[in-house]
Symmetry: C2
Subunit: 298 residues, 2 copies
């Protein structure tokens, strides 16, 4: 199998490592030339997609970038193409590369929002072979240096196939199971609504908590284990999360407003010295936390 | 050395385990008879403080409890007495046991708030030998089953001596350094203000986030690693945190209101689709997170 991986960050780099270890041929490109050079030196990437710098999105971050697109001949000959790029970049790549990607058996992105990628794939004529994929393995660390073997082992991967009955949908399941992941098929809109609560809200909460502590003059190093865990995600990549937040902003704003309601209630209980209300809240949260055995630290 | 440990939970149990392993004689009591029995069977506790069930605080949780006080003769003969009990229980124990504790070289509590314990110690005539201690090793798990060896190794312990120049203050430093902890001396009021931000606010944030997800119908098991970390503290003991929240409610309420301000700003940016504002927030949080090398997961 020949895989073309566009973007050698935490997700793309880890996919490339696993595929290479399984004996597959990995072609890759990244906006960061060092990532590609390191991946080749480590024997993970067999060849760089020629003229391979991926173009960045418009805007200040990509202003110095030539905007070249990975050369398409190698893409068309690949068995699987993986767009492991920020969620604001995947739709434009799909539109640009659409014609060359049509012959590829399986095309996937890996971002934390799925509706925009699915729309772009449909517009690019990739309904038969596109599967939106979202491995639930995000981390505050990013880049090739953060990637590693077995990142997906026993981890959940949401799959949103453009056509659930396509051969590509079946291939995508096989692909992720090969990497040890647990696959869950989901509609893209439902995925984005779900993740607004289970992933994007926790990220924004960590960001807000970090900013609150920063403003009050408390360094990250002054925290204990609990506080450190609660602000780990504050270290996440700003551009990546800006793009996710914008694509899913309605549902995330709703989730944030619900969190604010709960904080209002807790603050009112504090100000009133209402021990029963405080206990009721702590207790309900504890019961929710305990109601499944999924916490590996328990 | 003979140590009397009142409360064999996460903190008291771990102290008892370390002391026993270092060859010291540990007397102990707990409201949970099973904890004492297990600690004796495991060879950690040499003897139970006789008539030893510790009385619970007033209120529904302790209603079925006889309210007996640990017998005082053994306390008076101990080299160190450790009150590893909820923060609403330590002040009343100090007042009850004051006369017997006066002859003990070192008396400490271990709770997450310090001003109330220091006040009670002063009222009980224990200024010469009382040191408020707060090992920053809280966890969402509690009880004897959660305790273990080396919990304090390389962990921070805040010490608030009633008299910084007392022999007890020096003994307390030696005590915690013997357990491998890193000691930091601090005024009790300053401690409580600091912890409102670095510990109590993260706890209430986790509680509020857990309640938000519960209300929206999302199980804890549906979270990825990030979301799971952000809600781990939601599993913390409700009675323990109700007591902490009440004792430190003014400063915690202030901290919560500041968090709400940051969430307001993030939600406004989401609703306006303001990518620059979002990026500025994510970026500032990331710089704060990165500004020290204390994150062991980086």
């Amino acid at each position: 199998v020949t895989a073309a991986v566009i973007g050698l960050g935490l997700i793309g780099g880890s996919i490339a490592r696993d595929l290479a270890a399984l004996g597959h041929r990995v072609l890759a490109t990244d906006t960061d030339a060092h990532a590609v050079a390191n991946a080749r030196r480590e024997g993970v990437v067999a060849a760089e997609l020629s003229e391979g710098r991926e173009g960045s999105a418009e805007g200040p971050a990509g202003a110095g970038d030539a905007g070249a697109v990975p050369v398409t001949q190698e893409l068309a000959g690949a068995d699987v193409v993986i767009l492991a790029v920020p969620v604001d970049r995947a739709p434009s790549l799909l539109r640009q590369l659409g014609p060359e990607l049509r012959a590829v058996p399986l095309v996937m992105d890996t971002g934390s929002t799925k509706a925009a990628a699915l729309r772009a794939a449909s517009e690019a004529g990739l309904t038969h072979n596109f599967v939106g994929a979202h491995p639930l393995t995000g981390d505050h660390r990013s880049g090739w240096a953060a990637s590693g073997r077995d990142l997906f082992l026993r981890q959940r991967v949401y799959l949103c196939p453009a056509d659930p009955d396509s051969r590509a949908a079946a291939l995508a399941m096989t692909f992720w199971e090969m990497l040890g992941a647990q696959v869950e098929i989901m509609d893209a809109a439902a995925h984005d609504r779900l993740l607004a609560w289970t992933s994007h809200l926790p990220q924004l909460t960590a960001t807000a908590l970090g900013l609150t502590l920063a403003q009050a003059g408390h360094a990250h190093g002054s925290l204990g284990r609990g506080g450190a865990d609660m602000t780990r995600l504050a270290g996440s990549d700003a551009d990546m999360w800006t793009a996710i937040a914008l694509q899913n902003r309605d549902e995330i704003a709703l989730a944030v407003s619900r969190l604010q309601n709960r904080l209002d209630a807790l603050r009112a209980a504090l100000e009133a010295g209402d021990s029963e209300m405080l206990r009721t809240n702590f207790d309900a949260a504890r019961r929710w936390h305990r109601d499944d055995g999924a916490d590996p630290s328990s």
